[in-house]
């Protein structure tokens, strides 16, 4: 479980890839194949691997897709070097999806399975979208159900369950000949074993040489979140576009978050598309989070996961797409190669770097930079 929280996101990733067309209205997605290499490197963690997607229409009314994704994790994160040993692991996921078009209504169903040595996640999804008002408006809604199994290395008796449900609603509106906007709203509920069986919280302990000790974290058994986002995309007077978005988030653990993003897309010559973007994210801490509890068992729920702390991050993105000349392959009518690079800077406001030393609770605040690289080939057939 990569010293972390649940890996259900992997499953939702597969679901996203295979069924992301659900919100695009009554047009089946293009026949295409994508092969991507991805890498995340930051905070002592390197994750890389391949990602594949194939989509094909048939009988003009149906579309099927399949995806495969792999993470190869090498972790010496601050959590790991504080309380455990660096490790390596792999996780894989596969997904299938089926779309059907009936008039102006599109139905999508998908299933995804994510598996690693100590976590298995199954997710099934249903999405429906409908074009309205002369196709100026697309309304979509969807539901996902997830069943996860949490295990623990070195403890064969440990086996816990997590039940996940996502309810989502979206409206995409063409507002003017150059402007479109999308509203999204999503409720997610989790129930079961939601913390990490490996992670610990620290508390003041004068009997310890360093002044503190660790105990296992304890999370609530339920979590419900609400998120609403708006994005808009505008076609400039010359051939280029800008987009911007905002997302509001709140949950029953006390986390409130805000995300703002902007971007610019600019074709260059007949073959290139260049883009750049900026994203800002900030959040408040969960009610039961503390970097340093005053004593052991200080409260019912205990967390020292830095993803539940107060922090913000900023991301700069650059991307280039090159449309390849005709390859001469009978089945490939168009193809591109793409490189996207993102640089993210994380700054934590109440999570301290215990590896730097200092009096308990007065260590320097933690922060790190990460780079995300995506290189992929896309072919349309």
């Amino acid at each position: 479980m990569s010293n972390g929280k649940r890996i259900g996101a992997l499953t939702t990733l597969a679901g996203t890839i295979v069924a992301s067309s659900a919100t695009q209205g009554a047009v089946l997605p293009d026949d295409r194949a994508d092969a991507m290499y991805h890498q995340y490197d930051g905070g002592g963690v390197t994750i890389d691997g391949p990602s594949l997607l194939v989509r094909k229409k048939f009988a003009e009314k149906y579309s099927a897709s399949a995806s495969y994704y792999m993470d190869m994790v090498s972790s010496a994160s601050i959590d790991v070097i504080s309380t455990a040993s660096p490790y390596k692991e792999e996780r894989t996921q596969g997904g299938i999806a089926f779309d059907a078009l009936q008039g102006k209504t599109q139905y999508s169903v998908s299933y995804a399975l994510s598996d690693e040595n100590d976590y298995t996640a199954n997710t099934a999804s249903l999405d429906v979208s409908q074009d309205l008002f002369g196709d100026l408006t697309t309304v979509s809604f969807g539901f996902s159900q997830g069943w996860d199994e949490v295990r623990k290395r070195g403890d064969n008796a440990f086996e816990e369950q997590v039940d996940r449900r996502n309810y989502r609603l979206g409206v995409t509106q063409i507002l003017t000949p150059k402007l479109m906007a999308t509203l999204d709203y999503e409720v997610i509920t989790d129930e079961g074993f939601l913390n990490n069986p490996y992670r610990s919280v620290r508390y003041l302990d004068e009997s310890s040489g360093v002044g503190y000790s660790y105990q296992p974290e304890v999370y609530p058994q339920t979590r419900t979140s609400n998120a609403a986002g708006i994005t808009a995309r505008y076609y400039l007077p010359y051939r280029a576009s800008v987009h911007g978005g905002y997302r509001w988030y709140t949950d029953t653990w006390g986390i409130d978050a805000h995300t703002v993003s902007v971007g610019y897309t600019h074709p260059w010559g007949p073959h290139w598309i260049l883009e750049a973007g900026y994203r800002w994210y900030d959040q408040s801490a969960a009610d039961f989070y503390s970097d340093l509890f005053p004593r052991a068992d200080a409260q019912n729920f205990l967390a020292r996961d830095k993803e539940l702390s107060t922090f913000h991050n900023q991301m700069l993105s650059f991307g280039a797409t090159y449309e390849l000349p005709a390859l001469g392959w009978k089945r490939i009518r168009r193809s591109t190669v793409n490189v996207f690079v993102d640089h993210i800077q994380y700054d934590y406001e109440d999570f301290r770097d215990v590896t730097k030393g200092g009096a308990p609770g007065e260590e320097p605040l933690y922060g790190f930079d990460a780079n995300v690289v995506r290189v992929f080939f896309s072919g349309w057939f």
């Binding site: 972390g4 929280k5 259900g8 996101a9 992997l10 939702t12 679901g15 996203t16 890839i17 069924a19 695009q24 990602s51 995806s67 959590d79 008039g103 102006k104 209504t105 139905y107 997710t123 249903l126 429906v128 409908q130 074009d131 309205l132 008002f133 100026l136 309304v139 809604f141 969807g142 539901f143 996902s144 996502n166 989502r168 063409i174 003017t176 000949p177 479109m180 999308t182 999204d184 709203y185 979140s225 998120a227 995309r233 076609y235 576009s241 997302r247 988030y249 949950d251 897309t265 074709p267 598309i273 994210y281 830095k306 993803e307 539940l308 993102d342 993210i344 990460a370 995506r374 896309s378």
Partner: protein, 76 residues
């Protein structure tokens, strides 16, 4: 007999809303060529876009409302 779920009823009812398509569109079909341009696509590359959402969910407390199958949780 068990009642059908609200979600199922909504799924059945949504196509009926197609009757609303009689509303006169204020952006005519011939005025929509900009939206056919690839640079206006909300999600031009599904594999790459989904991966970035996965990175966000793994490193941040927030989740969902990303316009696709977001949500779930984070892993670090």
């Amino acid at each position: 007999m068990r009642k059908p779920s609200r979600l199922f009823l909504l799924a059945c009812a949504l196509p009926l809303a197609g009757g609303c398509s009689n509303v006169e569109p204020w952006v005519k079909p011939y005025e929509r060529q900009n939206f056919a341009d690839v640079i206006m696509a909300p999600e031009r590359d599904p594999v790459a876009g989904s991966y970035l959402n996965h990175v966000f969910e793994a490193r941040e407390g927030a989740r969902g409302a990303t316009g696709s199958h977001g949500g779930g949780c984070g892993c670090n």
